[in-house]
Amino acid sequence: MTAAERRLAPKHQRLALVVGALVVLIFAAVLATWALRSQASLFYVPSQIVKDPPAAGHAVRLGGMVETGSLVTREDGVTIDFVVGDGTARVPVRYSGIVPDLFVEGSGVVAEGRMQANGTFFADTLLAKHDENYVPRELEDMTAAQKKAMVAETTR
């Protein structure tokens, strides 16, 4: 503690405290906002991801309908290939792992993962509709009728 600090009037000490706290908090807010803009993983529907693909390796979410008849299980018994569509575009997806219980052809799915350079989407996680109490947020309105509306709304 220096002599200068010791001479701080009480008022000044409180002021210094408030200013210091504010500086840290504003720094945190600015940093968080900046990080969010770059780190938040965007949600895509197939027609968007085909038209304007994200950088290969960048984490995104892909949501749509699992096309009927597209589901193939590979030799190892745990890797699946399927196609996600939204009525206008189709994206092949590969996933290794145990699929959610309600993951079925003709139903909605949200895949978290990365787009590969060859146009295949490698999924780390699949979120499927569990029951009426659990729907991935993006799938809330992914009924066949509203799909097109959503595509229109999210591709401006």
């Binding site: 701080l8 968080a32 780190q39 938040a40 978290e112």
Partner: protein, 650 residues
């Protein structure tokens, strides 16, 4: 009849809350003793009536009274009794009733027990408590009546979400609610002290047990919730940065900051305005958490999709309470006189830095949680996950841990860095050794930091005990040491799990052997089994650690029939150095079964640490309560002696 009794009790409780508010305000403004005398009894009776109302709801669920809408929607006559009871708070209306019940009980307890504060401050505190409760009563009575009857009794109930049919989860919401409500009490104290200009160490001592209690419950709730997510969801993760998880983490962060600043105010009469501010912020975070979970704005496992009316209601309450409190704070902050001064290098200084960093972490989590909601309003859907929270959070957690290691060695008011170097150098050496070892094992940056800081902090946490008489050490000091050590252990567990976990995904036939890490695992059989309201396929896995005696694991794929849903029940084998985690998947071709296995070294430290943090809080709470009792006895005896002397001289 029971439902009507419950509803009547709820209305009466609401009326008493209104009386508590009005008479509290009048009493604080005048010297009318008759009005003042009604405040405490009103608070007690309000608590009793509300508890009665909640008991009626539990009874309805226990009997599965299908003429009540809430029971028909969330229960089923074939459910096990424990889940029937848990069903009463496992839904929106019931959980809100539980919230206000706990709040009423807390208000009643303060009214009965708190005698330290100036009577005016107490009146203002109870009036605030009544005001907050009133909002929740209005919410229940006007928009989410738990006792609503159906025009025709239902034939059978809808059942309870199977994911929620788990003993840990049944008691998860009440635990968090106790925490949230404890913070509402702290909020009332803060507003009461602010309004009556009595921000004193006495006020801090009166508020502290409630903050501590709330913080203990939040700690237990978060720890248990994390463990539940870990074994019930079957993804092997223990924290997903899910908005629902953040909803409970944010009040915890605020409460942690508040806990430390209240201690400064109680011990040193400094940080007056800051403590009041944190009291408001902590309760705001509880309200924000409630809003996020209860409004249906987030759709996730725990949040039940509901109509926007409720969300709006909570938002309006939030605006009224928090806006009101901040307005009062703005008007009165200038009148809170400056507390005791201290140097930057001192115990207070360290606590201030810790407070600011905790607030920064809180800001980072809050922004990350709200960001998707904001962008969605503009039509862009994003999800925010570990890539954001981990690095940005770590940026503030790391300095916080360093201050946390050093703080307990510092003296109050003023200290020199030179005096506390020795123990810190020792902790630093341990941290550097762990750092080198971690780098040598070739893992990511954050796990390396986690292992190094965890090891250093573990040493630094226990060093304040050196050279002290352990028998005579105050319980509060023990609490601090144990809680800080718990943080270090949790950190080590998290870092170890993210760095050294091994995963194996395979399709195996009965009789096949597969392995993960040091484990050899054989699929012995897959057989159908059945429970009270489900059937399942159960795998029989024989797992042997480094060729030792095999342990049996029995993961299941369960099918519930009311409501129809499938869940995976993971199986765990716990050793001192980690857990083997097994999940059974679907049938694959060629008679094989999908099996997913993880070997997670030292993962259990995460929850062990969490429990130690809560235990530390409990010890501190017991110590404080004991001190309070002693102080009271001493004061009473002194008063008696004075009275005796007065008689002698008279």
């Amino acid at each position: 009849m029971i439902a009507e009794l419950g509803l009547a009790a709820l209305w009466m409780a609401a009326a008493l809350a209104a009386l508590q508010l009005v008479s509290g305000v009048l009493a604080a403004r005048s010297d009318n003793l008759e009005i003042a005398a009604t405040v405490r009894p009103a608070a007690v009776m309000q608590g009793v009536l509300c508890a009665f109302s909640f008991a009626m709801l539990v009874w309805l669920f226990a009997r599965t009274d299908l003429s009540v809408k809430l029971v028909a929607a969330n229960s089923h006559s074939l459910k096990p009794m424990i889940y029937k009871l848990a069903g009463s708070w496992g839904n929106h209306e019931g959980s809100m009733l539980l919230w206000v019940t706990v709040m009423g009980a807390a208000g009643g307890l303060i009214a009965l027990l708190e005698r330290r504060l100036p009577e005016r401050t107490m009146q203002a505190t109870l009036a605030t408590q009544g005001f907050v409760a009133l909002g929740f009563y209005a919410f229940l009575l006007f928009s989410s009546n738990p006792f609503e009857r159906l025009p025709m009794p239902a034939v059978e109930g809808n059942g309870l979400n199977p994911l929620l049919q788990d003993i840990g989860l049944a008691f998860h919401p009440p635990t968090l609610y106790l925490g949230y409500v404890g913070l509402s009490v702290a909020f009332s104290f803060a507003v009461g002290a602010l309004v009556t200009r009595a921000v004193t160490p006495d006020f801090a001592r009166a508020m502290r047990p409630w903050v501590l209690g709330a913080w203990i419950f939040l700690t237990v709730g978060i720890t248990a919730g994390s463990y539940w997510a870990y074994y019930e969801l079957g993804w092997g993760g223990w924290w997903f940065w899910d908005p629902v998880e953040n909803a409970s983490l944010m009040p915890w962060l605020a409460a942690t900051a508040l806990l430390h600043s209240v201690s400064v105010l109680a011990a040193r009469d400094a940080l007056r305005a800051w403590t009041i501010m944190l009291g408001v912020v902590a309760f705001s975070m509880s309200m924000v958490g409630t809003f996020l979970v209860r409004s249906g704005i987030l759709t996730s496992v725990h949040a039940f999709a509901v109509d926007p009316e409720r969300g709006t209601f909570i938002l309006v309450l939030l605006a009224i309470y928090i806006g009101g409190a901040l307005a009062v704070f703005g008007l009165r902050a200038g009148t809170i006189s400056e507390g005791e001064r201290f140097a930057l290098v001192s115990r207070e200084g360290a606590l201030v830095v810790n407070n600011v960093l905790l607030s920064a972490i809180l800001g980072v989590v809050l922004l990350g949680t709200l960001y998707p909601l904001l962008t969605e309003a503009f039509g862009v859907r994003v999800s925010v996950g570990p890539p954001y929270f981990d690095p940005v959070g770590a940026l503030f957690v790391v300095p916080m841990l360093l201050v946390m290691a050093a703080g307990p060695f510092l003296r109050w008011r003023r200290d020199r860095v030179g005096r506390v170097q020795k123990p810190l150098i020792l902790a630093g050496v341990v941290a550097i050794a762990a750092f080198v070892a971690a780098i040598a094992s070739g893992i990511g940056v954050l796990p390396i930091l986690g292992l190094a800081l965890g090891a250093g902090l573990a040493v630094a946490s226990v060093l304040p005990l050196r050279g002290r008489n352990l028998r005579r050490l105050p319980l509060a000091t023990w609490g601090m040491v144990i809680a800080h050590l718990g943080i270090a252990l949790s950190l080590l567990g998290m870092a170890s799990d993210s760095a050294y976990s091994l995963e194996k995904l395979a399709a195996v036939a009965v009789g096949d052997v597969t392995g993960v890490g040091p484990w050899q695992i054989q699929l012995a059989a897959v057989e159908p089994v059945s429970g009270p309201n489900w059937t399942a396929l159960e795998a029989n896995l024989l797992a042997s650690y480094r060729g030792g005696e095999p342990i049996t694991l029995a993961p299941q794929a369960r099918s519930f029939w009311q409501p129809v849903q499938e869940t995976t029940e993971s199986a765990l084998a716990t050793r001192w150095n980690g857990q083997l985690y097994a999940v059974l998947g679907k049938a694959a071709e060629g008679g094989r079964w999908q099996v997913r296995l993880w070997w997670k070294p030292f993962v259990t430290l995460i929850w062990l640490g969490g429990m130690m943090i809560a235990l530390g809080g409990l010890l501190a709470l017991l110590g404080r309560l004991r001190d309070d009792l002693r102080r009271r006895t001493v004061q009473r005896k002194a008063a008696e002696r004075r009275a005796d002397r007065a008689e002698l001289t008279a």
